[in-house]
């Protein structure tokens, strides 16, 4: 029998991230129900990226507890990674490989068949550029390709750090489709985009929850 989907997608309690002696995030409490879409807002250096990196298991929290999709984000991160899609600041593509080869490579790492790469490419409307090397794509097209990589394995939770960077209107229009049916956490400076895509938001200031800009269900630390 397939395991039941967790009711809570993200549960953080007293979550802290430090760089040296400086506290970058926290202490922070957060509860995100499955299927919800959370926008993380805040100025530069507010801790958005640091928070997202912890949620995506890129970085380990310095202290506190973080549960993602019912799994411990530190101890069970290997299992978790198959269920989370992440897009960071860098596109992380291979310039010498074509758009399709880039995705096929990541499909192989996920243990997926190459057809998943074609599906993901079509999802971001880059199918006509499948045979174009990543280095010859525009910055916006590279961002779309990186988005395709993030959703390649059909993750339950999507963690996107400024996904709209360099995207044109068509590209931004694709974001809604990519988030559909998934729990999502995205950091952005664009409040209008956050309103379009998300049903709740949290405002970070100096690593702490400074308020809920839309007065929605976020528990601040």
């Amino acid at each position: 029998m397939a395991p039941l989907a967790p009711v809570t997608a993200v549960r953080a309690s007293a979550l802290v991230q430090r760089f040296g002696t400086q506290v970058a995030v926290g202490p922070l409490d957060l509860d995100l129900p499955a299927g919800a879409r959370l926008a993380v807002l805040g100025g530069n250096g507010a801790g958005k990226t640091t928070l997202l990196r912890m949620l995506a298991t890129v970085a380990r929290p310095a202290s506190g507890r973080l549960e993602v999709l019912g799994l411990d984000a530190v101890r069970q991160r290997d299992r978790l990674r198959a269920r989370v899609g992440y897009l960071g600041h860098q596109v992380g593509l291979y310039p010498a490989l074509t758009a399709l080869e880039n995705l096929e490579f990541f499909a192989a790492l996920h243990g997926l068949e190459p057809r998943h790469a074609r599906d993901a490419l079509a999802l971001v409307r880059l199918a006509p550029l499948a045979r174009t090397r990543a280095e010859r794509l525009s910055r916006g097209q590279q961002q779309r390709l990186a988005l395709a990589r993030a959703v390649l394995h059909r993750p339950e939770l999507l963690v996107l750090d400024e996904p709209d960077a360099s995207l044109d209107a068509e590209g931004r229009g694709l974001l809604g489709g990519l988030l559909e049916g998934r729990t999502a956490v995205l950091a952005t400076h664009d409040t209008a985009l956050a309103r379009d895509l998300c049903d709740r938001a949290v405002l970070l200031r100096a690593g702490r929850v400074a308020g809920d800009p839309w007065a929605l269900r976020v528990v601040g630390g």
Binding site: V58, A96, L109
Partner: protein, 225 residues
């Protein structure tokens, strides 16, 4: 099985990127030829001295070519963010490391394919199958350790400085034992005539197994922690 298929996919990707980008191999080939030309003038090598000096020159050039080849293996991926993207898949850091080490070893083998014939031309070194076998055997362990330290150095800002400081002392056993084996082979002696415990090829094989296991065990902590 999955470990192997992932390692193979990573290695294939690295080799494909290098063949298309042609960033490393042409520069390394030039470095090798230049190093041999300099050695030729610096040691005033003639046909009598050449074979005697060859083992030392071979390992010197190989070690420095290795530093360049392994240094690139992780640094470029770390800077572009693709290493992070790979590690966020369920592939596992050890399999990713094994693939990258295999690709780095393939680069070093390509260097050796330039180095050995060039040594025969410039220094008159007698390159026998035994010399080739010894160098290939040493390449496995050197690649495992070199890639591990390259992964470690890539996490730091002073990576160009850190990699030689870490790798060179640990490569010394390969240079000592490999140098002895190449010396014997170039002198026309078979290392198998030595007592079993002193056979350099066996010692090199032992080093390979030891350092492969150590590097694979340590890779997860270096890459993903």
């Amino acid at each position: 099985m999955r470990f192997l298929s992932i390692a193979l996919a990573v290695a294939r990707k690295d080799v494909r990127c290098e063949l298309r980008g042609r960033e490393l191999l042409p520069a390394l080939a030039q470095f090798i030829v230049l190093a041999l030309v300099i050695a030729n003038f610096a040691f005033d090598v003639d046909l009598v001295q050449g074979p005697r000096l060859s083992p030392g020159i071979l390992w010197l050039v190989l070690v420095f070519a290795g530093l360049v080849a392994f240094g690139r293996a992780f640094a470029a991926e770390k800077d572009s963010g693709s290493l992070e993207a790979m590690l966020l898949t369920p592939a596992g850091a050890t399999a990713v490391f094994a693939g990258k080490a295999a690709a780095a070893a393939a680069m070093l083998v390509a260097c050796e394919a330039v180095l050995l014939p060039a040594m025969a031309i410039f220094l008159g070194s007698p390159i026998s199958p035994l010399v080739v076998g010894t160098v290939l055997l040493a390449t496995i362990g050197m690649a495992a350790l070199g890639s591990l330290f390259a992964a470690l150095a890539a996490q730091t800002r002073a990576r160009e400085l850190l990699l030689p400081v870490l790798a060179l002392p640990i490569w010394v056993p390969f240079v000592v034992v490999g140098g002895r084996a190449v010396q014997l082979a170039m002198a026309g002696q078979s290392p198998s005539t030595l007592p079993l415990a002193g056979q350099p090829l066996l010692v090199l094989a032992d080093f390979d197994i030891l350092f492969l296991v150590v590097a694979c065990l340590a890779a997860r902590f270096v890459l993903d922690d």
